[in-house]
Symmetry: C2
Subunit: 298 residues, 2 copies
């Protein structure tokens, strides 16, 4: 069986986990990683590192974009334009539809597939929300996150001037309402009040109750565990009190990376275009033959 040739773009928390997973996933061949520095990756010295995809002689099937969410649209389009499928974990919920539509155009023009907003939320949680809507169309769904570190929010804080290091914790307060606890290590000379204000008015935080705490060493607080408790109470026709819960407690970058890798496989099986996870049959995420999974799982 021909393996799927993959590259990983970026080598942060998620990028490293994508490498870890690809190295042990039988239907993928990890061709290499892209880093701006071009330096080898300390944890994976045998992984080939380039600064541009054009430096690889192999035909690349899928690029896993483990990059800051705001760089996704531009970078994804560049890969798609070369006919390379992309998997991103774009996570600004309010503009996912727009990004999908932009990538759809480039993907279709270049016979490529873009999997948009892969990961667990947006991503597999979205699949659960859609499925529960099909099971009980009337009712309420609440997605309660945490307690855990939000990667997207943490990256957003780190990008703010005056922030040396940061950690954004998501605390569930019930009914899908969350508090953001932001722990910040200031850069030398930065003014706490200005930094706090920049954080609280950032699009990632402006709608939530946000507390900013200044600490000496953010590293002592770090743990990449996370969780979700997604509930729906609804009605199937006139039958009410249909109760559903999806709960998980997970290593966040590892799960994001795993869903991305599974999405890379699904990319090989879709018609050209851009897709969010709810637009893909779940069986397409799985290694091997469809019929075997029907036998094992249905």
């Amino acid at each position: 069986m021909k393996k799927i040739n993959a590259i990983v773009v970026g080598s942060g928390n998620v990028g490293l986990k994508v490498i870890d997973i690809l190295l042990q996933t039988k239907d993928f061949n990890l061709v290499g990683a892209i880093r701006r520095s071009g330096e080898p990756i300390a944890q994976y010295p045998n992984v080939v590192v380039k600064t541009s995809v054009d430096q690889f002689s192999e035909k690349i099937d899928v690029a896993f974009l483990a990059i800051p969410t705001r760089e996704v649209p531009t970078q994804a389009k560049a890969y798609l334009a070369k006919g390379i499928h992309t998997v991103d974990s774009y996570d600004i919920h309010s503009s996912i539809l727009e990004v999908r539509s932009e990538l759809n155009e480039v993907a279709r023009a270049n016979n490529a597939v873009a999997i948009v907003s892969s990961g667990w939320d947006p991503g597999t949680d979205s699949i659960v929300r859609a499925m529960l809507m099909a099971m009980a169309p009337n009712g309420m769904t609440y997605t309660n996150f945490g307690p855990g570190m939000s990667m997207g929010h943490t990256v957003a804080v780190k990008a703010i001037e005056g922030v040396k290091d940061a950690l954004s914790m998501t605390m569930p307060t019930g009914a899908g309402v969350h508090r953001r606890m932001v722990y910040v290590e200031l850069s030398e000379g930065a003014t706490p009040e200005i930094v706090e204000n920049l954080i609280k008015t950032d699009p990632y935080f402006i709608h939530d109750e946000t507390h900013v705490k200044f600490v000496d060493d953010v590293n002592l607080l770090k743990d990449v565990g996370h969780g979700v408790e997604l509930t729906r109470k609804g009605a199937s026709g006139t039958s009410g009190n249909q109760n559903f819960m999806f709960k998980m407690s997970i290593d966040n970058p590892a799960l994001t990376a795993q869903v991305m890798v599974s999405s890379g496989r699904a990319a090989m099986r879709q018609e050209k275009g851009a897709y969010t996870l709810i637009e893909i049959p779940v069986v397409d995420f799985l290694e091997g033959e469809r019929e075997d999974w029907i036998k094992a799982l249905v």
Copy 2:
């Protein structure tokens, strides 16, 4: 918007709930029901009843087969041969792949779509199992059912000679192992030992610990509530201890019927052929526009 013309075949627990749901689902038009007796349905006197689909003058888009599981293959093929999409809740796990393959052939030859094994298990639970496999490919999934009445098992017991009425309860004993508690009202003159042996050797029961209890009035024990607790502990790459749980507590025939109705909508959106639920993008089960759901759920 053109509504989907639907008929309901059968008027048992699930058939009645399908009618209930169709009457309040905006994108469907309930054309009528098929009953062997041709008699009006007491609970829904306004629903047109026929003994055969050929008696309807309207073009039927979808037939919901709310019939005993063993009648599904034959009846589904008859509808598919007329170019009518079918939705069934065929629930004998070991032969789903075979039934799908048979229906696939007839569906493709007649430009129709068959949704096979719709409902919650097989059905939406299968979607959850497939999704968890994509999230943590190494590990163990356990599906724990109940306590609750199993419709499939109850119908199977009722079909046994000497059984006047029956109820089969599923009791979880952990790690996906279940006990079957079968409550039986005997027909006059039936021999308890013979009936008990027929039940315990039936394909539905032969692999499970089965207790048969004889009672005077099965009706006093009836409640259509059911539940599931589906768990997976697994690894994403080398990151273990990824813990997942999907739990629900529901009215069983109502949920089965709702998933079937949502599947009827999905049937209108698939290419000709037969599909289990894991082969269908979840967004296709939902009423309305794909883009609106991406905005709302992803």
